[in-house]
Symmetry: C2
Subunit: 161 residues, 2 copies
């Protein structure tokens, strides 16, 4: 649940004059959307890890497992596109799911380039459990916001994704 916060130490006394960096005029890095996205993501990941301890899935593993469970049969690269992971990334995620026998891997005789993935029975069962935890994780992540703000945030994030 912990994540590297901004709550540690009192601000340093040093000033622009001391550092000679007068050219940074009014640019506050902590207020930039990129910084805030990184921080929000860190907090969510920490909440996720906590809430998903039972299923022992990372956010990407969870996303891939859910998608495979929805779809049934899918090639690896296609699954990557559906879950916003490039081929190099999805490869490792899928490998770990296969190692745990949550996903099966077969080859398509009609297209020998592809790896065809499908959920196992254990994968489907775990996916069902994981969704329950995931609902709580989403709630916890959005807890600081009102209902209206929660919908706003999701809508805004969709627009910039």
């Amino acid at each position: 649940m912990r994540y590297p916060g901004l709550h540690g130490d009192p601000p340093s006394i040093a000033s622009e004059a001391a550092s000679g960096a007068a050219a940074l005029d009014g640019y506050v890095v902590e207020d930039q959307v990129g910084f805030l996205l990184r921080r929000a993501n860190q907090r969510h990941t920490a909440i996720f890890q906590d809430g998903m301890a039972g299923a022992d899935l990372t956010p990407t593993q969870f996303t891939a497992l859910i998608k495979v469970s929805e779809i049934g049969r899918v090639t690896q690269n296609h699954l990557g596109r559906l879950t916003a992971m490039d081929p190099a990334t999805i490869q490792g995620v899928v490998r770990r799911l296969i190692d745990r026998e949550l996903v099966s891997r077969t080859t398509d005789p009609l297209d020998r380039r592809t790896v065809v993935l499908a959920p196992t029975q254990a994968g489907l069962a775990l996916a069902a459990d994981a969704v329950v935890a995931a609902r709580r994780i989403t709630d916890a992540t959005l807890d600081p916001l009102t209902q209206q703000e929660q919908h706003q945030l999701v809508a805004l994030l969709r627009k910039i994704s």
Copy 2:
């Protein structure tokens, strides 16, 4: 500028019935805040990499360099707290900045545990350039939103960070 989008392929025809995963009732992983945060972060990182090609800084390297430039002298762990990076992470980020001689590293004789960091002249100069690029990056990231929405998003992200 490219990032693994959701635009590649048409949706698969397979249904819940085909996969046997009826328990995922109405849970749409693409609409969850965690998924959207990851995606938004990916897009921003891609924009950042593009816009910061001249300075050749990653988002974390940029944040650390800006903070060191603002403050002047700071210990490594403290810099990590200010920039939301844990000690293991800030260590690598700082090492790369030192390798490029953007940041200097000295020891405090009064506290021999600590590493005292400070910007070099080259570091201050690069920070000034990088801020110019960073303003454009923020604008590009928020471009799909109206002015009001931009402020809303930043405010909401602050609340959940």
